[in-house]
């Protein structure tokens, strides 16, 4: 015999819980289709970076004529509308420097990732598909490379070749390719045994053909996921290099060097010199990481059909 009152209240509770969950499920249905949050952050940043020259109120490398140094943002006492986010130690507009700094961060982030991804994916494919001594050599090189402390190595290279934006791009690409080669090699090892690859080999396809037509398109998914996760790392690396003075050279604005310049003024209370570039780094890196996560779930074929 079942206690009807107990059953009723239990079923009402569970029905309520089910409704709540189903509403949540409907939301996730929508949110699952598009990465709303990351795009909401990244698209404005990308637009700002692209249109920097037209949006920025002032030249970021020249002081604002007639402005004082260390002016606070406009909503604080002493601030004014002609320098919305304040000025720095050379009376340069913080807002303009932020906008141009976004350009630097995004360009270095994307380009550096492309360099790293290309090197790493190519080596990973060669190691995985050709096997034998090629595999051994590439993997040992990867191991050795991984043993080097990334940032220190980057600083070393930067001091050797001299700082400039494109040098930094190449350097960061050289530092971060290893994370691709390992993962891609693993994927290629299992792809190699799949029947459609064997079919191509049986049909007489050359190795180059198999790699370009069959292997590469199928590892692109993983490459893209890795890339979106690497952009954040590269951006932070660039910021670190700029902070340490071996990144993009002044007077070109970069968020990292803005942090370095403004660090000493934190004690005095001039927070706007560091908080804004810091927020910029935080938001962009957060957005790329979320995007990478979304991509990973989206592109995983097992999760695709729920």
């Amino acid at each position: 015999m079942v206690d009807t009152t107990e059953q009723t209240s239990a079923s009402v509770l569970s029905a309520g819980a089910r409704d709540f969950v189903s509403v949540g499920r409907r939301w996730t249905g929508v949110a699952w289709q598009w990465p709303v949050l990351p795009l909401a952050i990244l698209v404005p940043f990308v637009l700002i970076a692209l249109l920097a020259r037209y949006i920025a109120p002032y030249d970021p490398t020249e002081p604002i004529p007639g402005a004082k140094i260390f002016e606070p943002p406009f909503w604080m006492q002493g601030g004014s509308a002609h320098a919305l986010l304040g000025t720095d130690f050379q009376a340069r507009d913080v807002l303009s420097r932020l906008i141009f700094g976004a350009r630097v961060s995004l360009i270095v982030g994307v380009a550096g990732t492309i360099v790293a991804g290309s090197i790493g994916t190519a080596l990973g494919i060669l190691a995985g598909y050709l096997g034998g001594w090629v595999d051994q050599v590439i993997m040992r090189v990867t191991d050795a490379w991984l043993a080097l402390p990334g940032l220190v190595f980057a600083i070393f290279l930067a001091t050797m070749v001299g700082p400039s934006m494109w040098n930094i791009v190449i350097i960061l690409g050289l530092v971060y390719w290893t994370r691709y080669s390992r993962v891609i090699r693993g994927e290629v090892l299992s792809l190699r045994e799949r029947e459609f690859v064997k079919l191509a080999e049986i049909a007489g396809a050359s190795r180059a053909r198999v790699i370009l037509r069959h292997i590469l398109p199928n590892v692109l998914n993983s490459t893209m996921v890795l890339a979106s996760l690497t952009i954040g790392v590269v951006i932070i690396a660039e910021a670190s290099l700029s902070f340490l003075g071996v990144g993009v050279p002044p007077p070109e604005p970069a968020w990292g060097s803005m942090l370095a310049d403004g660090r000493s003024m934190l004690m005095v209370g001039d927070w706007w010199l560091t908080v804004f570039p810091g927020l910029g780094i935080l938001l962009v890196v957060l957005a790329t990481q979320l995007l990478g996560d979304w991509l990973r779930v989206r592109l995983d074929p097992q999760l695709r059909n729920m």
Partner: protein, 322 residues
């Protein structure tokens, strides 16, 4: 008798087995294929039937040149295949194709169907793009699909349709022999009949030969002209399909027939007389490899391996009983 298209002559494939973590000692050989003699003629379907571990997959790998044989020869159109190189080798690869069991992993997921089918054409011919597209449309129609599907991706098709695409790909060039490795085992029952009928129709129209490898006796017997029964790397019986079904001679073949599922509940079925499992190919039994499980084993069988003899016209068996 026309010259066989493909001839396997005392084909052997041994895989070395070694143990030891530091020093790899060789402790023996897995005799996956141990003296296989087979011939496939033009316009013929040869069925190869056996259970897991019998060597049928290894045999197909040898035919497709995925592995070199340890001994014996494969002759195609009379010529030793291991001597082929360059243009001759490409000709072999063009004329001998394969269709695998799993329709879900045999098509490149990021290529359009038309490109998948056209790939052998790209490798072997210098057809222009229009000529290739035309040939793709031709073979798609041959396998019963609309030519318009060429621009779709594999994941938009069902299992049966994917197998048709795989067959179309195998026919794109001037194929003369297709190795079909369990092509319908992964398909639903009703789709199986579609594909089997299609294969038969293609053989009639194009004159292509098949090596049909399978484990389901009824399916293999239906489509094959002749059947070879394999056990532990050797062919134990070879006969025409209907003859084999009427009079299986080798005890293993008889066991396969007894074990086969009935097609009607009233069908009389005998008790299975063999016991145990297939022994490992690493250390096969001496003499006749089937003797430990054979209900008719004689002392002679453990000592001497039987030679394949033709007992009735076009019906050969390797057994001391005959």
């Amino acid at each position: 008798m026309p010259t066989p298209l493909l001839e396997l002559d005392n084909l052997q494939k041994y895989f070395p087995v070694s143990t030891g973590a530091l020093w790899r000692r060789k402790i023996g050989w897995v005799k996956a294929v141990d003296g296989v003699d087979l011939a496939i003629h033009p316009r013929e379907t040869l069925g190869l039937i056996g259970e897991s571990g019998c060597g049928k997959t290894t045999t197909s790998k040898l035919i497709l040149l995925q592995e070199p044989p340890s001994a014996g020869t494969i002759r195609y159109d009379g010529e030793d295949v291991s001597n082929l190189e360059g243009a001759e080798l490409m000709r072999y690869r063009r004329e001998v194709q394969v269709v695998f069991q799993d329709p879900y992993s045999s098509l490149s997921p990021r290529m359009r169907v038309g490109d998948i089918i056209a790939e052998p054409l790209e490798i072997h011919t210098d057809f222009a793009r229009e000529a290739r597209a035309q040939r793709v449309a031709e073979v798609l129609e041959l396998v019963g699909l609309q030519p318009e599907v060429a621009r779709l991706f594999p994941h938009e098709f069902s299992g049966g349709q994917r197998q048709r695409i795989a067959i179309a790909r195998a026919l794109a060039t001037d194929t003369r022999l297709i190795v079909l490795d369990e092509p319908v085992s992964a398909l639903d029952v009703s789709i199986r009949a579609q594909i089997m009928n299609q294969l038969e129709h293609l053989q009639e129209t194009l004159g292509v030969s098949y090596l049909f490898i399978g484990h389901d006796l009824a399916t293999v017997a239906h489509i094959s002209h002749r059947i070879a029964v394999m056990y532990l790397g050797q062919i134990v019986e070879l006969a025409e399909s209907l003859e084999l079904c009427a009079k299986p001679l080798h005890p293993y073949t008889q066991a396969l027939f007894t074990a086969a599922l009935p097609s009607h509940p009233d069908q009389r079925h005998e008790k299975l007389k063999i016991t145990g499992e297939v022994p490992s190919a690493l250390d096969p039994p001496s003499g006749c490899r089937f003797h430990p499980r054979c209900p008719h084993a004689m002392p002679h069988c453990a000592r001497e391996a039987p030679v394949r003899k033709e007992i009735a016209p076009r019906h050969a068996v390797a057994c001391h009983l005959y």
